[in-house]
Every structure is written in structure tokens, then in C-alpha cells.
């Protein structure tokens, strides 16, 4: 019923309203139009204001009231302050401002004829923050730039962190159209570079809260850039240039003063040879022979084990071998005196001790001196490539080491199955031959200063050999030792062994006295058994010992017996101190 009444009443109400409006128009006085809330804004997150645009006042004085409610205070309240923010505005002071709550705001316009309410506006102060522009913008022309300073808006609470502002400034030449904008972050000053001298610039600054809207631009501030102003920040470039110049100067100076050092810095050199006693000057002089001589297994430690092994062998051998043992004793004595020569002796001896190993090593090796040289060079290269001297010594010791099997290389192809204990002497002889062949040509020239005594004796052997070679009608050139020694090897391996075998160093005492043992007179068959009785026929005599430790030997033409030798040895014994003589005599009775 009620609804029907309402429905029936609607047209009459509308008619009445239209009538009223017509009468208003007739009178010229109506109720005010709907006002419109234009904007609400909080400049500092503590207060805020809202502005509205009044509609038509209907020809009558109209009152505008702003009513609001918040979430926490749903009751409707009226604006506390209509004046502070100007006409048609409402100012909410700190007491009436809350954040994180929705203000529902309505503006009512009222006059005698009636009232009209605006559409409600829902405002959260949190999202309407728009600060005032920065103040006190000051411009200072520095040497190379323009310094712009400003202050945050006076009402904004920056200090306590309630509001956080970021700044932006823009500038342009006075006559220019487009602004150049720079972001200054939270700083309150900014350096402007790249300004043209003599021009007048306009600068403005604005700010924005962390979450909110940009403020208006601050009032324009003008500055005239003086003509003396440096257009660009030259000091940076000048400093860079000076620095680069200084660095370049230092580098050039360093290069010039020690260019080689710099080069070695960039390209590290191959590590130098680390052989003890190796003379690096030889590298520079480029004498290959001397180089090779320097490789002769220096610093080789004495190997008493081998000595004992050899003695064991000799105990079961015949008397001829005991001579060899004496020979080895000679070498062992030499070891004490001249350790630099030991590797050579030992290498030869090593081949004596282990013929099987020797034969294995000898496979595939060649006999020519050039090969030996090349092997020696290789060994040197290996050593310079980083091997320590101790490794190097180990190479000399190790009989299985193929890379340093040079004593065997000088040997003939005698590694066939004919080896026996008797052959040991042969091998020893051959080894000694190889020793003699190698050492004088390689080691002697270099080591003469260090080992004069030993090599003088070898020289005497050379002399002996030379005379023997004459007998064999082998060409030789007296006075040229190298030629003498290398020639037999070039002929044939066996021949070289033969020519060197017929005189053996029996003993060299500490006083450089040389004891020689004659050997059998070999003609063609080098594999002929070494016997005690055979070689004793031929004999060599020591003529005298010079002051310079030179032993002068003369060939004894006649066939002499062992007692003669013993006699000669007794002569030595008479010359030498008694204790040495005793040592020698211990070896001789078996002969």
C-alpha cells in the first residue's frame, strides 16, 4: 500500500519541484548549485587542506560548510578552519589530521532557497602529499661550475624523518626554450657543469616526498655567468693529462735505463742452467766444446757401493783383474782428490759392473762423436729446462738412464752374449778407452785448471797412445790432442778401443806419481781375453815427473817382465811417503 502511494506520489512531486524551479527562475533566486571539491593536499604530512569550487549561488548569499568523517570517528564533523587556506577552502590542522584513514568529505552549499551537497570525496592524507617548493635557492659561480643551493620547504619535517624529500632542478639559458633537468636526490645542493660563459641562466628547484607528488617549481633564479668562466671542467682533464704524462715519462725512463729488464718482465726468460760450477760465460762465448765439457757430470758424489761391488767381482777373478782392481783403486784415489772427474770414471765402471744393463742401454745408440755431442747437448738442455743439479747427478748415477748413456755410446758393439767376468776387464778397458776418448776432448780443456794433475797423466797417456798409433800407422797429428783422440773413434769403435788399451793407468798417487800397467798387445781381435801373462811383455816407463805435475813417459822398446815393473814401482815407493807405499804394496803381491 505504501509503495503504491509512493509510486503514485512521484509524478506529483516531480511536478511540484519543476514548478518550484520555474518560480525560482522567475524570481531569479534559487538554491545554490552543487559545489565541487577540487583538491585536497597535504604539504608536509601533518596538515592538509581541501578546496572546492562553488556552483552557482542562486542569486542569494550562500553558506558553504564542509562536513567530514573519518574511519575512526564516524560522526560528522565540520571543518575546523575555513580561513587559513583561503576562500572556499578548509584547513585541517595537526590535531584534525590523521594519516592512514579515509576522510569522507562533503561540501554543502546553503542559501535561503535551499542547499546542495557536493559529491563525497574520499581522502587519505597519505596519498595527497604535495610539498611546497624549496626555498632560498642560491646560485654561486665557482671556478668551473655553477653551485646551486636551496633549503627544503620550511614546514616540512625533514629532520625527524617524518617526511623524506627528493629534489630536482632545471635550468636554461634565458633566451632558450627548453629546460635541462637534473636530479639531485636528497641533496640540497647541486653542481651544474657545461655552462656557456657570458650567458644568463634561469634556475628552478622542486621537491617530492618519498611517496607523493612533485611540488611546484621554485621561483626563477637568475645568474649571469662571467666571461672568465671556464666552459668545461678542464682541471680534471689537465690532471689526467699530467698524470698520464708523468707515468709515460717514468715508463720511458725505465725502458731506456733497463729495457732488457722490462722485456724480461714481459717475456720471462728461460731459466738459466743451474749446474754447480757451470760457467755461464761459456754460453755467451758460444764454444760448444767447452759447453759440453761443462756438462761432464760435475758434483758427482762418490759411490762407495760400486767400489765394493767391483771388489767382489775381482775376488773371484784372475790376477789380471786384480790389476784392474788396482786400476780402480787408482780411480778411487782420484775420486778423493778430484771429485769432478768421478762421473766419468764411474760411468765407465758402472758399465763394468752391470754388463747386462749396459747392453740394454747400448741398444739403439750410436758411436759417432757427433752423436755423443748431441746427446750431451740434449742433456744440458734437459738440465737447463729446470732440473736441479741433484737430479742431474742422479742421472749420472742411474745406470738405466738412457738419456745420459754417453760412456756406453763411445763403446763398440760389444754387448753381445760373450760377456763374462773376463769380459769385465775388457769392458773396463773399453770403458777406459771411452773415458780417455771423451774426457780429454771434452772435459780436459775446461777442467784443466781444476784438475791439472789428473789430466796431465791422461795427457801422458795420450802421448803413449800417439806413439802406439804411429806403430799402427794410423794417421795422427802430433800436438793436436783433439785430433789425436777423435780420429780413432772415427775409424771404428773397435779400433778406438784397441788403440787406447795398450797402456793403462795403474795408479796415481796423491803426489801425482803415475803407475802404469802395460797391456796386451792387441792386433785385430778386440774380444780376445785379457790375461795377465799376455800384456806384460810390453812396457812403458816413466821418465820423470816435472814440477808442473807433468808425467813424461817414454816407450820401452824391449819386452819387460813383471818384476821390472815391480822394480819400477819400488822406485816410486822409495820416492813416495812410506804410508802410500804400503797402500800400494797391499795390492801388488797378487800380481
Amino acid at each position: 500500500m505504501q509503495r503504491q502511494l509512493e509510486v503514485k506520489a512521484w509524478p506529483s512531486i516531480i511536478f511540484f519541484v519543476l514548478l518550484l524551479q520555474n518560480t525560482k527562475f522567475l524570481d531569479g533566486q534559487t538554491a545554490p548549485d552543487k559545489p565541487e571539491i577540487i583538491k585536497c593536499r597535504s604539504p608536509e604530512k601533518e596538515t592538509f587542506s581541501c578546496w572546492w569550487k562553488p556552483g552557482s549561488d542562486g542569486g542569494l548569499p550562500t553558506n558553504y560548510t564542509l562536513l567530514y568523517s573519518t574511519e575512526k570517528h564516524p560522526e560528522i564533523m565540520e571543518c575546523p578552519d575555513y580561513k587559513t587556506s583561503g576562500p572556499n577552502s578548509c584547513y585541517f590542522d595537526k590535531k584534525h589530521t590523521s594519516l592512514w584513514t579515509i576522510y569522507t568529505i562533503v561540501v554543502n552549499a546553503t542559501n535561503e532557497k535551499g542547499s546542495n551537497a557536493s559529491n563525497p570525496k574520499f581522502v587519505d592524507v597519505t596519498y595527497i602529499i604535495e610539498p611546497y617548493p624549496p626555498t632560498n635557492v642560491s646560485l654561486t659561480v665557482e671556478k668551473t661550475h655553477l653551485l646551486v643551493k636551496w633549503l627544503p620547504p620550511s614546514m616540512a619535517d625533514i629532520k625527524y624523518g617524518w617526511l623524506t624529500l627528493v629534489y630536482e632542478l632545471r635550468l636554461k639559458a634565458e633566451k632558450a626554450q627548453e629546460w635541462v633537468t637534473h636530479s639531485a636526490g636528497q641533496q640540497t645542493q647541486f653542481n651544474v657543469l657545461s655552462l656557456h660563459p657570458g650567458e644568463t641562466y634561469v634556475v628552478q628547484v622542486r621537491c617530492k616526498p618519498d611517496h607523493g607528488f612533485w611540488s611546484q617549481w621554485s621561483p626563477e633564479t637568475y645568474i649571469q655567468i662571467p666571461n672568465t668562466f671556464q666552459e668545461r671542467d678542464l682541471t680534471l682533464w689537465i690532471s689526467i693529462a699530467v698524470l698520464a704524462f708523468v707515468i709515460g715519462l717514468i715508463m720511458i725512463w725505465t725502458m731506456v735505463s733497463k729495457g732488457y729488464k722490462k722485456m724480461t718482465c714481459i717475456f720471462p726468460p728461460v731459466p738459466g742452467p743451474k749446474i754447480i760450477g757451470f760457467d755461464t760465460q761459456l754460453l755467451k762465448t758460444g764454444k760448444s766444446e767447452e759447453l759440453l765439457s761443462a756438462l761432464g757430470c760435475q758434483g758427482f758424489p762418490p759411490t762407495s757401493d760400486y767400489e765394493e761391488l767391483l771388489v767382489d767381482y775381482l775376488e773371484v777373478d784372475d790376477s789380471r783383474d786384480q790389476l784392474i782392481s788396482n786400476q780402480d783403486k787408482v780411480h778411487s784415489n782420484q775420486n778423493v782428490k778430484s771429485p769432478h772427474i768421478e762421473p766419468d770414471n764411474d760411468s765407465g765402471r758402472g758399465s763394468c759392473d752391470s754388463p747386462s744393463a749396459f747392453s740394454e742401454r747400448h741398444k739403439g745408440t750410436r758411436v759417432t762423436p757427433s752423436t755423443f755431442e748431441s746427446v750431451g747437448v740434449d742433456s744440458r738442455l734437459e738440465n737447463t729446462a729446470g732440473q736441479s743439479s741433484s737430479d742431474w747427478a742422479a742421472q749420472c748415477i742411474d745406470p738405466e738412464e738412457k738419456s745420459y748413456a754417453w760412456p756406453e755410446e763411445a763403446m763398440p758393439n760389444s754387448h753381445t752374449s760373450k760377456f763374462s767376468y773376463h769380459n769385465i776387464t775388457e769392458v773396463c778397458k773399453l770403458a777406459l778407452g771411452a773415458l780417455n776418448a771423451n774426457v780429454p776432448s771434452v772435459v780436459m780443456a775446461n777442467e784443466e785448471d781444476y784438475q791439472p794433475k789428473y789430466f796431465k797423466t791422461i795427457e801422458s797417456v795420450v802421448e803413449e797412445d800417439r806413439s802406439r798409433q804411429k806403430e799402427l800407422e794410423i794417421q795422427s797429428k802430433p800436438g793436436n790432442h783433439n785430433t789425436v783422440w777423435l780420429l780413432p773413434q772415427e775409424k771404428a769403435p773397435f779400433l778406438s778401443a784397441k788403440t787406447m788399451d795398450y797402456v793403462e793407468v795403474h795408479k796415481i798417487s796423491q803426489n801425482n806419481a803415475l803407475a802404469l800397467v802395460p797391456k796386451h798387445n792387441e792386433t785385430t781381435d778386440s774380444s780376445k781375453q785379457c790375461s795377465v801373462s799376455g800384456p806384460n811383455k810390453e812396457y812403458t816407463k816413466v821418465a820423470r815427473v816435472d814440477e808442473n805435475n807433468v808425467l813424461v813417459l817414454v816407450q820401452d822398446s824391449g819386452m819387460q817382465n813383471l818384476p821390472v815393473f815391480q822394480d819400477s814401482h819400488k822406485e816410486y815407493c822409495q820416492i813416495f811417503p812410506q804410508q802410500q807405499a804400503e797402500n800400494h804394496m797391499d795390492n801388488f803381491p797378487a800380481v
Binding site: K45, E46, E71, K72, K94, T97, S98, L99, W100, T101, I102, T104, P120, F122, D124, T126, D157, I158, K159, Y160, G161, W162, T164, D210, H211, L243, V246, I247, I250, M251, W253, T254, S257, K258, K261, K262, C265
Partner: protein, 229 residues
Amino acid sequence: MVISGASLKGVLLMVLLVTNIFQPRKGVNSLPICPNGSVNCQISTGDLFDRAVKLSHYIHSLSSEIFNEFDERYAQDRGFITKSINACHTSSLNTPEDKAQAQQIQHEELLNLVLRVLRSWNDPLVHLVSEVQGIKEAPDTILWKAVEIEEQTKRLLEGMEKIVKRVQPGDLGNEVYSLWPGPQDVQVADEDSRLFAFYNLLHCLRRDSHKIDNYLKLLKCRLIHDSSC
């Protein structure tokens, strides 16, 4: 020899110096990483606050963007905002609402409030991410932002717990605030109410994230810079 060697060292030193000078200062912005489980790993509280403030600022920026996007796309002329008054699940928390209140409150209490607000958003954010995927034609940006907000809020909560441990050792309010009533019944809710639920969640998220950001910036100035930022 000696002089050239010394000059070589000098050149090297100069080169190092120059490269050091012109090296871009990247290290300033990078945050030092503390190994897990180390007790005495001392990042200064100021650094912790810097991180927290950066995070909260970022979270609020995302929240504002996601709210505005959603508002433009779905909430126009639906009067959602009138319904959303007093509809936030965190509105029962008595947080300071202006600068005066925020200045009066003790920093310990304010820190605890931040913790509470953050914790109260754990479940709603999980729901938000799942809900976004159900919205028709939801742009990828909204989905991505929802996921990002959820992750970053977790990080912020961890950081805030560390800060609270530092500032007030021993008294870490560990209660779980399940202020959120939970998601609406999906079967009952029509599309409009679903959209409003989503709108309201985003609206409250935007508000609370701003609250947290504001409180943290205030606390940072108060505790680290002695109220002279």
C-alpha cells in the same frame, strides 16, 4: 739495476693508485653479506635500517602500483572505496596516526608495532598471490607484483626481527597475530564481491605498507641519526 727496479715498483704503484682512483665505487651500494649462522657478524644497526627502509620503500611502491592498476581496471564506479572503510584486518591495531603520536610512542613499541603489522600480512599475502591467479584477465604485472610483494615482505620481516633483537635484546614478541579472518567463501562470493575482497586487500596493503615505511624512516632517523636526518 737497483734504481730501475725501484722505478719499476714505483710505476706499478702508480698504476695501481690510478686504477684505484678511477675505479667506480660500486662497493658502496652493494650490501655486505653475512654468512649464515655467524653470531658475531656485525652489520651495524644503521646498515640494517638502511636495508629495511629500502625494502619497505620498495614494497610500498609496488603496493601503490598494484592498487592503482587494479583500481583503474576493475573498481571504477563500483563504490568499492565506501565499502572499504574500516575494513582492514589491521585496523584494530592501535598505530600512531600522525606525527605527534608517532613521536610520543617509544621506539621499542613502534618497532613491535611494525613487527605486528608485518606478521599480520603473512597469510593475506599468500592468499593474495593465489587470488591474483584466479582473476580474469589479470595482467601479468599485477601477478608479478603480488609475488614480489609477498617475497619482499618476508624479507623485511626477517630483517625487522633482527633489528628488534638488536635494539631490545631478549624481548622479541613472538606471538602470531592472526588478525586476518581468512578468505571469503569462494562458493558464496560472486564476481563483484570477489573483486571487492581483492580491492580491499590491496587497499589495506597500500596503507599498511606506507605505515611501515613511514615508521621505519622515522625510527631510522631517531635511532641512527639522532633525529637529525
